[in-house]
Symmetry: D2
Subunit: 262 residues, 4 copies
């Protein structure tokens, strides 16, 4: 692998317009920096803190928008699934299926994702040691998945707080999978606002740099033109305008680490 | 509430014979101790550590056996569901639907369970503070559930280990729900054996007594005539013969606590 | 051991008058309940959060007051030491020397305490597993201490919070020492108020009951006629008037546990 | 600050010969890399897990050796103190006094260190949030210390394990102090070997790089020509021959981070 790859996008598909705005931004950035970027957005947030939170447009409308983004901006697309029955349909549009952290041990969901033949990105559960991800990888591989990606997004550390154990990145790389670092969800303070999660977006660039230095192969960021108005994960999402600087720094660190590893 | 209630059974429906053996034992104990016991067994273990682990007989065969147990031994029955689509079918047999800890934030699963009209027992996620269960309770109540039970089964504390915060019991009772203490899963050491969880069954009676003293309304135990041979959670399951002594002690403590509260 | 023993007192020696007021209360309670009570107060708080916090009257004045309390109310006395050089002097007055949690691994302090011949109560460090207390016990025993007591007062669980692992009580009893449960410091939220610790005194009775059920041999409480005005640990200290009810409940639970153990 | 500074040395003063060997190595490295290195070794390990562990030569002999190292190799020296009474004597030799993590809240120790006029490096307690170090800094500054350094060396995360929260580095820098990252003690698994701590020295280079990316101003490593034979912290100490590569990588990352911050 010669360069850090990037997953980025606006958390949930708030609207076609928002997706197009972010995708256009990412397309331009990808060309200019000559770095691979995968567009990420969710069609359904199935485990929001509160039952009254915005969940997204649903699978049909959501996939339609993702398909348009893909064609219009020539960006590969990643989105998450929540039920085994969604895997096949979603894989018709998405290049990579994502398994949410809370669901990373649901055997049928993993198997259904694997059977599509798509790449599968699994977020490490906040309740799992990195070495327990070995069993997750086995479930996927035995079900036929050939492109497993693992994602560090924080580990439960006392109530309403996560911590990133940077040694987890190497532990998971030892399972033979590229490891992505989810810089924005790592700053989440789950349940910190009562009916929604708090966050600390100002920590995302620092954690991203730190994870790149620890050997991460890819970076995951949720970005938004105006995070304060975002309909989901507002507190931990990164401002679109702050994104380029962070990506550049991570890539420089990535290169130093890879040179040293040779 | 005048007495501690009890959920007990053999984790997974290993066979009709095993279920009958355990149910007969519980029926007799319930009569002799004059205490309410709900029979618990799973038809599917949908998130085992390893893809090669035994999962159970599946929903059709599983519900048939639970129905037989119910009729033959006149015990109410609780079992867990993993997908929204299972809720209605399962509620035709089960008196109480249980939501697994990893799934306790899946909005659709909670809503589907609530809509059956059955009682719903939600295990607190190992990755949640007790006060975040407020949102879970809201999801259920807004979806029509009138009998919400919450269950403490340990909180993530460093890799491969859980801890029970006994103040969580009171926190969750303040949400207006009876709180059950899952004494056997609380001794789990997740991932402790590589491809399965370790456990410390000898701690279950101590933790149960401790939780009764902290105000738990009910107790949950997985029991087996021969835990070493159990097909799931072998390391943390309680020996059937050790069960009566533990229940008696918990009830005595329960009574002291209630007297003092008056 | 036939009954639960109790360590109680006003955290720091705020004044001779306060000590006398609390000691008189404890003397009367001890007689009426026929239970052994040891008077606890510190002459110096050597590790307050802030340099501007009240520290106490110092060793000379402090020991004079403890000596008076001892004679006047015929209560044994426990107090904590912070430097090896204090051990011998303090042991002339105190029946039991206490080692603060942060200092529980300081070899010279343990050795000096052991060499006095007094009983030594060591608080388990918030940063130690219960089984690491084996090394602490060894240090004391090899230095001649014949009466080692261990004290559970919470384990670090995320920032600014402690949790009590109730299985720790049994782990430490297995080292051959009586185990005391410090109910009031267990409710501490270290650093929770910026320049001092927050606390949740309302949890102390619940945790105490829970620890009694888990097998604790003794209980430790900091009490005050008016906790809001206390000069140290105000937020977690128990109101003197609430104390009797809590002690009674703990003793009842203690008896049930011991009967069952026979 | 233009370059990353380095504290390094052999944990405990095993012998004059060992100190000279390590100091000669560091002198040469410092000259060749043109980077500032402070020699670190302890004259007494006052809180070893076991009472039978090697503690060092003691203060008199220890300071003599440190003085020789200083003169012979022209390296500044840092060493840790455990009692207030040691501060003045030690400051006659040491350029920087170090406060051990367990003792970081002992007011008198901090005050005594501050009063010497030397720089003071305080290791963040494993039981403290980074923002609680504000009180530690206040204690030092109010006692006259003008050069406070803070050191991240891991936070308690479940039994027998530490985790580094990389956001702690920025939190502590916000207190106006340079922050050092202790890469080798961060890999400690306290109590992991029963009567001593286990460790994972192979993680030290990764964590060091990660901390440099997170903004650390300095690095702390314990190094040894032959770590397997080291008399203290053998499991987490770094091999002398692996040191140069790690330092170089950290400096490169340091420079990227500082350029970006401009």
């Amino acid at each position: 692998q010669e360069d850090l790859f990037v997953f980025a996008g606006p958390c949930v598909i708030e609207s076609r317009d928002l997706c197009f705005e972010v995708a256009e931004f990412l397309r331009e950035l990808s060309d200019r920096l000559k770095t691979g970027i995968v567009f990420k957005a969710s069609f359904d947030k199935a485990n929001r803190s509160s039952i009254n939170s915005f969940r997204g447009p649903g699978i049909d409308e959501g996939l339609r928008i993702l398909q348009e983004v893909k064609q219009e901006f020539q960006l590969p697309v990643v989105t998450d699934i929540h039920l085994p029955s969604q895997a096949a349909t979603v894989s018709e549009v998405a290049d990579c299926l994502q398994i949410p952290a809370f669901l990373c041990r649901q055997t049928d969901l993993l198997a259904a994702a694997a059977e599509t033949g798509a790449a599968v990105n699994v977020k490490k559960g906040q309740f799992l040691s990195p070495w327990e991800m070995k069993n997750v990888v086995c479930k996927l591989r035995e079900s036929g998945c050939e492109k497993v990606l693992l994602c560090e997004r924080g580990t439960f550390f006392g109530y309403n707080r996560l911590v990133n154990d940077m040694t987890a990145i190497g532990e998971m790389k030892n399972l033979g999978c590229p490891v992505i670092f989810d810089a924005t969800h790592s700053t989440q303070q789950p349940g910190g606002l009562g009916t929604s999660s708090a966050g600390a977006r100002e920590s995302a660039p620092v954690l991203a740099a730190s994870a790149a230095a620890a050997g991460a192969d890819g970076m995951f960021f949720e970005i938004h033109p105006n995070p304060e108005d975002a309909l989901c994960d507002s507190a931990c999402m990164m401002r679109m305008n702050d994104f380029e600087k962070t990506i550049k720094r991570c890539r420089e660190i990535f290169k130093i680490v890879r040179q040293n590893d040779e």
